[in-house]
Symmetry: C2
Subunit: 397 residues, 2 copies
């Protein structure tokens, strides 16, 4: 049964209303709706929000289910990348099992749409992609998973990686990934030409990890802009992290932000407290599509995080110094509907005709729900109850 | 009964050991201790850490127990300050009740030592101080509370405030407070001369809120250093926030940090994700005493926070990009023993002779305990069980 009547909710903290979901879509929102032949859930006056959207994570690399990973990794980026490949081998890490564990944990927190980057490298080949694709298949009724083929260990510096990315796209990855064209690959032209050619060949979009900050990041952004313009890929290329958009030089940064708006380049943040990050209000004012994600967590990179996008809305708010309740609503939008729009999903909203993804949360107001991020009372995907009291109904491996 | 045998703990995540507390002090730590005539608690292999130390908060201004405060306050500092005085009157806020609520919530999270700033201004006079002093008296067996007489609404700009601070110190406040001598009072010389004179007169220390960043904060720091030197107040003057120590100009910042070390100026941070903050590793490398606090929370200033110093250790770690487990131990030290040292308490440690304040936390390692900050299993103050399963044993008003 895919039809569901959610009674006594407060959509976005507003007045009491029922929400009727039919055939996976929201059919009606209003006081005391009646419907026959549908399942009924009573929210008992709790707040309803859209399904949470994790627009940037790494389902294939969490160590969930393993003992605590004692991190003794060196300070450089390459230390972390090389260490991770070694640990994966030592553990015999299975990307399918790990992505099942993380996805279901996220579903328990109310996430119904995920964009995940999946490592493609010449050590492990396409096995992680196969594993995450199997998870996507098994969880299709529970959470929508979009896959980026991600050259985590570099592209130009490891011969054979471009060919693997090509095969990944042919197998069914949704987007071509990239990573720090200057800082990682030391060949920005080679790196970007390669991934843009793959995107063109397969008719797919791109999502590039850009940690490069300040002027270096601005340079890489300009190279990206040039290729979007010349290839007509407006709206098809997203940039993750984009720390350079948080740089203190207002003029330089504004020019980049304005170009993101002009070329419709969505920006996806994880709002790390330790870095300069793109400003939520500034990007929205410029009309840039903007989403957020939990990034990898409980992996060899670092210990923080749990998959909770409601907690991420809090961190996004804290990072952006959002204190007013109307500002907290903006943070939640980035973690729900706004993030979905950044992923080209325009129907992911708590409105009639929207996808029937609804999360019932605890709190007097949306602000309190974000700040306290208590266990979710109920999670509904396309009209189907998938989690209760913070726990997914599917058994985790 | 103040004597307690804590069995089967893992102090700081190490091997199993018992902890014996006699007369409020740790008398022994070792495997299978025996003791007669003492209370016994079994930690069942859980980790023991020292009592958490909240070195910077505002017990008098939380709105805990009231409905969610919908924040519609303007963007400027003075908007927030003026709004708060108005809300206090509208609500008839009782500083005793609010400080009881916050203190006991913090005790539930394992905090056993608190430094609180208490508002002193010409609207409310000394009533908040009286209320927090009553809380300190009532909770003396549960949590140690140190009080800073804090001119939140300004000192030079509101005639009569200096006299109130003088009376506050005579009544029993522990330290003289200050606030942004340039940015708030527009008279740094007047502001600092006044609070240093009060500290000298009463033979007490100082704790100054310094939000001023960059060069302005550096200027205020220099004025503070000059007065410490000329009055011989080394070790007696702490600076809270000190955002200027996180400024990007390495040379300027290092000179300030070195002078903090030379004049023994403790720095107290709340690690806000949105600001440049003093670097944990850099301050510790210079030998500067360094503590942390939750700041005010659930008040008219902003919605975030809950009093949990284990969560604050996580935020401190995230802000400082600490990823290794040995780095997480540093973050915890700042939120326990290190913070106490910054408050001149040298016996607040999980060692024989240390104060009998112990918190039993959930997690395989200290790192996991910080990252997941699950409800505390047990909180012990001076050998006395004060909270179980995250809830204080004292009834909250």
């Amino acid at each position: 049964m895919r039809d569901l009547l959610l009674q006594n909710t407060r959509p976005m903290g507003g007045p009491l209303a029922d929400i009727l979901i039919r055939d996976g879509r929201i059919a009606a929102i209003g006081p005391t709706l009646a419907a026959e032949g549908v399942a009924i859930e009573d929210a008992d006056g709790r707040i309803a929000i859209p399904g949470l959207v994790d627009a940037h994570t790494h389902l294939d690399k969490s160590l969930l289910g393993y003992p605590w990973y004692v991190n003794e990794v060196g300070p450089k980026l390459i230390d972390k990348i090389d260490n991770e490949r070694k640990v994966k081998k030592d553990y015999g890490l299975d990307a399918h099992i790990q992505s099942m564990r993380q996805s279901l944990q996220s579903v328990g927190y109310g996430t119904t749409l995920i964009r995940t980057h999946v490592d493609i490298d010449t050590d492990q080949g396409l096995i992680a992609l196969e594993g995450v694709m199997e998870t996507r298949r098994q969880l299709a009724d529970v959470v929508e998973i979009e896959i980026v083929a991600f050259p985590q260990s570099g592209l130009m510096r490891r011969a054979g990686t471009a060919e693997l990315l090509d095969r990944a796209m042919a197998m069914g990855a949704d987007l071509v990934g990239g990573l720090d064209p200057c800082g990682m690959d030391r060949d920005p032209k080679g790196h970007l030409d390669t991934i843009f050619a793959l995107a063109e060949k397969h008719g797919k979009g791109i999502d590039i990890h850009l940690h490069e900050s300040g002027e270096l990041g601005a340079f890489s952004m300009e190279l990206i802009f040039e290729r979007i313009r010349s290839l007509g890929l407006q709206g098809k290329v997203a940039v993750s992290h984009a720390f350079c958009l948080g740089h203190g030089d207002w003029t330089m940064t504004q020019a980049l932000i304005d170009t993101c708006a002009e070329l419709d380049v969505p920006i996806l943040t994880t709002a790390p407290p330790s870095r300069e990050v793109p400003s939520l209000k500034r990007l929205r004012a410029a009309g840039v599509r903007f989403g957020a994600g939990v990034d990898g967590f409980r992996d060899t990179w670092g210990p923080y995080g749990n998959g909770d996008m409601l907690e991420r809305a809090m961190l996004l708010g804290m990072k952006n110094n959002l204190r007013r309740d109307d500002e907290l609503l903006m943070a939640l939008d980035v973690c729900t509907t706004g993030g979905a729009v950044a992923m080209d999903r325009t129907q992911h909203a708590l409105t009639v005709g929207g996808r029937g993804d609804v999360v019932i949360v605890e709190g007097e107001t949306v602000g309190e729900a974000i700040v306290t991020h208590q266990p979710r009372s109920l999670v509904v995907t396309a009209g189907h109850v998938v989690a209760r009291h913070g726990v997914t109904l599917r058994e985790r491996p």
